[in-house]
């Protein structure tokens, strides 16, 4: 019996190993071919992603690779009132490499009554202040301020002064797919924001923590300069289109038309580099791990 169990453990370990061999990356994924529309370069970005260490499960270097698989050019790391994760990524870059999408520094300013995704700066910003003052502080630090999932309960915090100060509004965070009421509230908030601040940027984002795929909500940013600087400038100018997980686009009509087809295809296509063999390999690893847990590491009645 011991030999049978030992043999089963070896088989499970072999299954896990073969699964890893099938699922490994064939090579580095190439960057997306540049998309040019109306004289702008279009960057696909996710401006609200939580990472490890923080309340996200993936470390930044894995987020960068996963973002590239999901056809994103950049992601903003936005842990709650913290930029430690981005700093750790920079510190460990000589070891982990810089493969994948651009990692932009940021934080989700978590205050009493509102959240702001502040992108493009590592400077500390106090949370004990009104949203308008926090947005001004973000600007002084070189970043942009985006209202994060602004539901009805946040209405008091986002007064007209705050809406004028903000650079963007999350119109399509992935939370809307699980909550119809939130979708209505965000629609109302975005419309109100546009009445007060017509050029405010429409933002789509994932608010990734652990389950919803990175880039499930995304923003198409029409940039006129490369990299982080170009992305931030475009947000400040309102040259963005929010895209949700179902491929619906939100924003100024003239801009939506330019990227609607990209939005639909990015929402429906599987991640780049995903093969049938990789899927089989993943499940082989899973089955092998279940078997290793159940088979245990020793016998119940050792000789």
């Amino acid at each position: 019996m011991d030999r049978v169990v030992f043999g089963a453990r070896v088989a499970a370990a072999v299954l896990v190993s073969m699964g890893f061999m099938l699922s490994r990356d064939a090579g580095q994924l190439a960057a997306r071919p540049p998309i040019e529309r109306a004289g702008y370069s279009v960057a696909a970005v996710d401006l609200h992603v939580h990472s490890f260490p923080g309340d996200g499960v993936l470390p930044p270097w894995d987020i960068a690779v996963e973002a590239r698989r999901r056809r994103l050019d950049a992601v903003a790391l936005t842990n709650h009132n913290s930029t430690h994760s981005w700093r750790l990524a920079q510190l460990l870059a000589p070891i982990t490499g810089r493969a994948g999408a651009l990692l932009m520094p940021g934080r989700e300013l978590t205050s009493a009554g509102y959240h702001l995704a502040i992108v493009g700066t590592t400077q500390a910003i106090a949370w004990r202040q009104p949203a308008s003052a926090a947005a001004a502080a973000a600007h002084a630090a070189g970043g942009v301020a985006i209202a994060a999932h602004p539901a009805r309960r946040n209405r008091a915090a986002f007064d007209d002064a705050a809406l004028v100060a903000l650079d963007g509004v999350e119109r399509a965070p992935t939370l809307i797919h699980a909550n119809d009421q939130l979708d209505e509230e965000l629609t109302a908030f975005y419309e109100r924001a546009r009445r007060v601040h017509p050029s405010i940027a429409a933002i789509g984002s994932t608010d990734f923590h652990r389950f919803a795929p990175i880039g499930m909500g995304r923003t198409y940013v029409l940039t006129s300069a490369p990299g982080q600087a170009g992305i931030l400038d475009a947000i400040r100018a309102g040259r963005t289109v929010a895209c949700d997980g179902l491929g619906r686009a939100y924003g100024p009509a003239k801009l939506v038309v330019l990227v609607q087809s990209d939005c639909r295809s990015d929402a429906t296509m599987p991640p780049d580099g995903q093969t049938g063999a990789a899927r089989v390999g993943t499940w082989m690893v899973w089955i092998g791990m279940v078997a290793l847990v159940l088979l245990g590491a020793s016998s119940l009645h050792p000789r």
Partner: protein
Amino acid sequence: MSPEIALMISPRRTYAALAQAPRSTPILVSLRRPALAALVLGVSLAMAATGRVTPALVLSTTLCWSFAVAIQAAVALVLIAGPARKTVGVPRAFDLFFAGHAPWSLWLLAVAAWAPSQLGRPLTPILVAAIVPLALTVRIVSAFFVEVLELDRRDALLRTGIHQLAIWGVLSVLFATAVQLVPRVLGWIA
């Protein structure tokens, strides 16, 4: 039947049998179960977050999240080292303690397979199902203290309570810090 399965079915009888088996456990061997638990965590998180596992991704997630297993190990050592010296020895007690990891490990793998998503399956069934490993682990840990460390029932219950409080307490503090609970609470009160 493996100890891991037997412990989920009949923890006291299983630990009684394991404690009686004459066997010493080298220190390195006693790390095999925590290592497997860490690998389960790494595989589960990688699969839940990306839908795939690759060697590089799992190595990364396992190393990053191994601190959670290290916390478990540290708390376990504090609670079992003293009594273990008088019974089966610390390395063997440590090894047997971690034989009870199966309920939570299987739950993590189930989460990875269920893959909740805003566009797909809801999270609630998985959260409700967590009651099972929670209850099983309390039973298993309590049985460990009685049968392996030969503590009386009162002392066993006390140590079980301290163990669970310590683990969930540390994880709660880390979580509260990561999500910035203080401003949220102030917002709810307001």
